[in-house]
């Protein structure tokens, strides 16, 4: 369970996140949805322990977060793999940190099997630069699920991918979460409403400047539906409409506020 209480982040007097209160239940798949620059990645970084909030607290499994924890693994947009080691070595590095008691051969086997699990059988000895963006993200996901962490934090992981790859990886993540049967909690940052509707069991919409939760919606039906049936479902459609309306009014508000013109933060 992830819990944040009155979480505020400010940089140089500019408030990025304003008193966020949010609880993510065990086994949930929460999508953090918001415009770019609204602070959704910042929020994820505080969950990961990469950023200390200015005030307020984050708890993972009841423990206050103070620096990166073993309980969380993170998938970044496009730099989860170190470019100077092969994909396999990247996985082995993460696994060796998680399982200090295992020997090198066991770690290697584990890395190979996780790569195979995400459909990357033959890439163990290839450098990340030799992989396509989609394959790199697959490997990053393999690395994240190979460690025994309960929480998976994903920061716009498919933002840079082409539509076909994005859809395939969304399916992969959805499957992995379903197969974990509640053992894994996922927080997934995206600005794509349809992506959030397809993946999330819960969707939190963040408003911008300063970032705050302006809506928290449950999305119970989407998990039962295959992709092509998703937008035929009444409750998903009405949720989509609702979120789009919230999104739009937040964006208009931002456009109307003169601040965005002066600060150059834009949309």
């Amino acid at each position: 369970m992830i819990e944040c209480r009155n979480l505020t982040v400010a940089f140089q007097n500019k408030t990025i996140l304003d008193r966020i209160n949010l609880t993510v239940q065990d086994g949930a798949f929460l999508c953090l949805l918001g415009q770019s620059g609204c602070g959704k990645s910042t929020l994820l970084r505080t969950f990961a322990g990469l950023l200390k909030p200015t005030s307020g607290e984050v708890f993972v499994d009841g423990k206050a977060v103070d620096g990166p924890e073993k309980a969380c693994s993170v998938v970044f947009q496009d730099y989860s793999l170190f470019p100077w080691m092969t994909t396999g070595k990247n996985l082995m590095l993460a696994l060796a940190a998680s399982f200090p008691q295992k020997n090198k051969a066991e770690i290697r086997n584990l890395a190979e099997s996780y790569l195979e699990m995400v459909g990357l059988g033959g890439v163990f000895n290839l450098y990340p630069a030799a992989l396509s963006g989609g394959m790199r993200q697959r490997a990053a996901i393999a690395r994240a699920i190979a460690t025994p962490s309960k929480v998976l934090l994903m920061d716009e992981p498919f933002g840079a991918l082409d539509p076909v790859n994005r859809a395939m990886l969304q399916d992969l993540v959805r499957e992995l979460h379903r197969d974990s049967r509640g053992a894994r909690t996922v927080v997934f940052v995206t600005h794509d409403v349809d992506e959030a509707l397809y993946l999330g069991t819960e969707i939190a919409v963040l408003g911008s400047s300063p970032g705050r939760v302006i809506a928290l919606e449950k999305n119970p039906s989407s998990r039962q539906l295959p992709r092509e049936k998703l937008f035929e479902n009444e409750s998903v459609i009405s949720l989509q409409r609702k979120i789009m309306d919230i999104y739009r009014s937040d964006m208009n508000e931002k456009l109307n506020s003169r601040e965005s013109f002066h600060s150059g933060n834009g949309i």
């Binding site: 970084r45 990166p68 993170v74 970044f76 989860s80 470019p83 590095l93 450098y127 630069a129």
Partner: protein
């Protein structure tokens, strides 16, 4: 895979073009020299003996040149290795501790530009042997650029790599050897490159005092006797050695920094 093969082929072709081009440039320059000396005698024959003098001179003293090469390498390689190791080690240790760096940086800035050659009198006076004083001079010439570039490399590390390493719970030696050192490697190699060139210059300077043999010593020694055929032969030999060493350096660099080529 096809793409990779294509790139390998292209790299091979580029290397061949470079080799042919460089050979052609050298060929033209040598031919020009031959025209100015052997053929037209336009240049002063004492200061600029023709190839007809230089080449036989080189062949005759090949034993001496080889001995000079070995002596020089015995001085250069340990000094170079020590300079690189010390520079990288200090650079990592200081670079990873911002406060220590803040305190030491003014000192580094002050000492870095001091030419090692200026320290020769002190090195000779303080250190027990000529070999050691020469080695220390070369060491310093390599140490400073490698230290500064390693510091730079640590600063320039992408913050996202550090985030990534923190998320993986990497600490201590793993953090240093798996993330910080390889991440800083492009800068470190730039520093080693300039240190290497500097070390060749310092090698010949260092061999001017106290050395009994060496490539720099050879040139210096015969210059005193105005035997310019041997002087030029020694310089040519030295240049060939430098080119070979730089080629080896390039090869190592390309292998270690493999990952930067395709990004």
């Amino acid at each position: 895979m096809n793409n990779r093969e294509f790139e390998q082929k292209k790299a091979k072709r580029d290397r061949r073009t470079a080799a042919i081009g460089a050979t052609a440039v050298f060929g033209v320059l040598i031919a020009l020299y031959a025209v100015l000396t052997d053929l037209t005698h336009a240049l002063d024959p004492v200061l600029f003996p023709g190839l007809g003098v230089i080449l036989p001179e080189m062949a005759r003293s090949s034993g001496e040149l080889l001995k000079g090469f070995l002596y020089s390498m015995r001085l250069l390689i340990p000094s170079l290795a020590a300079g690189i190791l010390a520079g990288v080690a200090c650079g990592l240790a200081v670079g990873m501790h911002p406060k220590v760096k803040l305190v030491l940086m003014p000192l580094f800035r002050a000492l870095n530009p001091v030419p090692p050659t200026m320290l020769i009198p002190y090195a000779i006076a303080v250190l027990p042997s000529f070999w050691l004083s020469s080695a220390v001079i070369i060491f310093l010439g390599v140490f400073w650029p490698v230290l500064m570039s390693t510091l730079h490399g640590v600063v320039m590390l992408e913050p996202r790599w550090i985030d990534n390493a923190r998320c993986l719970q990497l600490t201590g030696r793993k953090l240093v050897f798996k993330v910080i050192l390889p991440g800083a490697m492009p800068q470190i190699f730039a520093g080693i490159g300039s240190g290497l060139i500097f070390s060749f210059i310092l090698l010949t300077v260092a061999e001017m005092f106290g050395a009994k043999a060496g490539m720099g010593f050879y040139v210096q020694y015969y210059a005193d006797f105005a035997e310019y055929g041997k002087v030029l032969g020694g310089i040519i030999f030295l240049s060939v050695v430098v080119i070979l060493l730089m080629t080896i350096f390039d090869r190592i660099q390309r292998r270690v920094l493999y990952w930067t080529n395709k990004r």
